[in-house]
Symmetry: D2
Subunit: 342 residues, 4 copies
């Protein structure tokens, strides 16, 4: 498309995260135009029309794909639907942004990659939002500039504040499990920050600390994992759904000359409180407050890539690798054994 | 004006800060339209035209005021010009946003207030940007909600990273001095966070630690001050232009049940570095990185007030008081005595 | 005395702080021997005898001074008694350690100095304990080594946790007021860290935030102060008796090339808690936990000076100057004016 | 022995750590008396005699054991010698304090336990010094009091500052490897803080980041590990010998209601520096500065147990378990597989 034109976007999935993407695309992303929305729920489509002035409203995804005014789709749909929806969009000639993870099954990742290879003119990007966070970008640039020597280890955690209602438990069976759903972010960070090394083997362990309902589908609410990469690189992950203090995404990168830590304490803002509880800071309640800016930058990046025919900063293969490692961790957890990846 | 219309704005002063305001008004503030610019420098007007598509380009402020397409002006001009420019804009029927401080002379503040009182339909707001920072707003709301009991003291500092070139020294004579130019922010914060108490007396001290050129105009590069308010409230200020590590704006509010601290360390981002220098964080190089979001929120607030005929969150009288206290601190520094304000 | 001999010490005052000194002198200070105790209270003398095996037990200070087995006295008595007690000890040929402040009246400080000058062989040291804290010593050495360039400002605070019972109010009339009783530590630090500059003038302000009983004697529970020294050096002090979170002694030293901060947050230990209150650390409840090691090092220093005939690290004149500045701050508070010191 | 008597101690091994124990026992541990020392090196014995006044000087361990004046031995010897030396001491009727680890071979641990069982009147304690650190004790008490609900995970790291000379490499073959030598501390902490759960299986990975000489003996300079315990408890360890900033021992304990973190940043003291490098703190250069107080408390605890016939806070079985897990981690590293422990 001509760089002067705006990218006309259809949002698919208008739930909590879908609305955030939709609002940004409609109001805050230069060069983007939100022209269509797809949801099985009437009230979600009403919201898109009434709040954001979206014209093309569809209950069926294939109808949206048939809308000739749509240049690109944003998929904010259940994880299990991602591969088929991406492939359908590509076949319809649409650029695709899709929320992480790419899939719950490695073969599907490869099928998406194969389809994308048939449409080299179309952009496909999976939403590993942390790569667009200013602090993570600063860390990555510092590392690339040699600030910590040769990086060889990443320790990264994704911890959500506990929801006592356990609402999320009902989505657990279709989430892919804690490692595919949550740690996939940390896995992608580790690969990015360590220079995309080849994964060799993984091991994981986990426990149900609070949410007994997870046992039915073999999932856990706290999991730890080790991933060995080639050339003496390695990573350690922790995912939790039961933190008391808020959401915390923290990553440590160790190199031969130093260590960087990103996001420790997940601070809500620049206020410190000294009172009868001690001296304290508050933490963002969810990942969204932590990464709100990064989501906007991610969307801007994707739209820029489409407008200016540039290659997205992260490839489909990156997404496949992160997913493949996440799935191996799930297998390790289930079978209590090392899973070889090489 | 009708709330559905956009506020047509003329920017006056297109230097470093003027460009930042101009870019936000042109690109990021919903409901704003940047239609005119005024500068004595051709290249600044060229920039406004070429980069932001500004149509009305003026070398003379009064010509800009005569432009019937201008609803409001943004004054980003030398401090000494503020009062006359505000009054002229009001007489021309324009809403006014003006950077701090309101003036360098108390009588001029009162003259501006008097003129504004003759135009109750026009909005006038001085840019005390910190009131629009998310962390300061959080602190203010917490205090208002009783989180620290009755607040009785504010300690606030504004510290700039040293510019070894001493470039700023040439502007010192027209800046109003360190307390009017820098501490006026802290003074405004203190009044805001303590519930707008009446000022009783002030004392200050200062030194030229680095920039000898300041002595010629009686200014200092580091100053400390005490301000007593009525009802046992008080404040302590520190301003410095010679910090080695970056810009730091930090404020502590002490109440009978606790203390809040805002902005300690002025952190650049969420990265921590552990290397041969120890464990460290970096600080924003200037106030702008620290308050970039606040500037945008400040502009949005002013534009909203104009569009929806609302009263700005801070009044001209607030600006007068902050200026009056700043001037008294300058007098105290010069005359080495307590200055009574009541 | 011969360096191989132990210094035989009489403790005068066996209240809370007196017992701490007594225990250290009896059990932990190499080269010291606690041989006598003086208190008007029988139970305090019983404690000294039963717990520490002290032999010489006196209700009258002059009887203790007459005990030929006493080489040195430790005065942990009400502030107003210090000068006469020091002078009496010197006249009796005893070395003297005395808790801060030296006096509540400047003339008495000078009288003590004069008496001490008549006994050059006797050691006299006032207990400015912070000079013996490992962190303050590290800061002082760094400054002396040029780590922050030329130091020109100290900001220092002494904040006690609020005692809701207000027990301390009954001692306020004899304490010398908040600046002489508390800030005298900060004043001494400022002089030490700035290279003992000559004081020029002071100003202070204060408020009764919580403890109304203080008004009767003209004291406050929160006070702030500025002290100007010669050569463009200056200091800012804050003293509070009403903190919610614990005791905090914090000092900032600003130089032309950097800033050091000592004791921020007053952390109790190395534990951090993340729970529903946020992420937090606890603060020491009183100054004693913060400075327990420093008290021991202070005692060891004094005993070493006596044993090896060395000059104590801080002089009587240092104590006089800190007291004189503290008294000037009290005057400034009472008379709401600048007090000239030069 | 009678509680009023002092424990007469023989120190075995008078190298760097041995001297520290010796000095404490001779000078700072109430109720202890350092009466003998054993070392193959004449200068080490000379030091003990000249500096600490030790009377019994032995080049042969068995001669020291034959000294009837020795009540207890402190073994600060190469790891591989520990089991035989403990057994010999017990057979000679001596109480035993031995530095960690208990052994490099699980069977030897069990042999020591068996021998100790034959001498119930003798105290045997392995030096897991962190259990005596004030912050770790505070954390343990908080957890026991329910502060974080049910604890289910420990993440603990031991990181040494890099020694560019690689001096330690020559001791690597006899150290037992990074997990037995370093992580054994973290393993013991995990067991202690999680309530001594039964270990089920482990997995580890490691790399030679800097010190190539380690490859010869199969060791690494950075290792990570997972340990699963019964009842859904688990731990994650990291050991490094290559940190740039100093020694850092940090431990995180996660429970159902909160998280405690101990020792983050390993701060040297309470000084913060703001200069051209940013805002920073320094870290202790070695574990010793971090744990100097804990070593003293550990020694006092052991001496108290001997004097008052009390059971040491940590049992030989604790030491066996920590060692057994450490050895399993070494096996996992060598064989790249999960090692089952149950």
């Amino acid at each position: 498309m001509a760089a002067s034109e705006r990218v006309r976007i259809g949002i698919v999935g208008v739930g909590r995260m879908g609305r955030r993407h939709a609002e940004n695309l409609a109001l805050r992303v230069p060069g983007a135009q939100l022209v269509a929305a797809c949801s099985p729920l009437t009230e979600e489509l009403d919201w898109a029309r009434d709040t954001l002035g979206v014209r093309g409203l569809y209950k069926d995804y294939h109808e949206l794909l048939a809308d000739v005014d749509v240049d690109a789709v944003f998929l904010v749909t259940p994880n299990a639907l991602h591969p088929a929806q991406i492939i359908a969009a590509l076949k319809a000639g649409r650029h695709v942004f899709c929320e992480k993870p790419l899939s719950l099954v490695t073969d599907e990742c490869l099928a998406v990659e194969a389809e994308a290879a048939r449409h080299p003119q179309l952009k496909v990007m999976i939403g590993f939002v942390r790569r667009f966070d200013a602090s993570y970008q600063d860390a990555q640039k510092s590392i690339a500039a040699g600030a910590i020597g040769r990086p060889f280890m990443v320790r990264s955690e994704t911890c959500d504040q506990n929801d006592p209602s356990g609402f999320f438990v009902r989505f657990a069976p279709s989430s892919g499990g804690i490692f595919v759903d949550m740690s996939v972010h940390d896995i992608d960070l580790a690969r990015w920050l360590l220079g995309s090394p080849r994964a060799l083997r993984v091991f994981s362990a986990g426990t149900v600390a609070v949410h007994e309902g997870l046992r039915a589908c073999g999932d856990v609410d706290n999991g730890i994992a080790i991933c060995e990469f080639a050339d003496g690189r390695m990573a350690c992950f922790y995912a939790s759904r039961t933190m008391a203090h808020g959401h915390e995404t923290a990553t440590e990168i160790v190199g031969t000359d130093g260590r960087l830590t990103v996001g420790r304490d997940g601070r809500l803002n620049q206020v410190e409180i000294a009172d009868v509880h001690g001296i304290r800071t508050l933490t963002t309640p969810t990942f969204y407050e932590r990464f709100a800016d990064a989501f906007l930058r991610e969307e801007m990046h994707f739209v820029d890539c489409v407008r200016h025919d540039r290659t997205p900063a992260l490839s489909l293969h990156d997404a496949t690798e992160a997913t493949r490692i996440g799935i191996a961790l799930r297998t390790s957890l289930a079978e209590r054994r090392v899973v070889e990846l090489a």
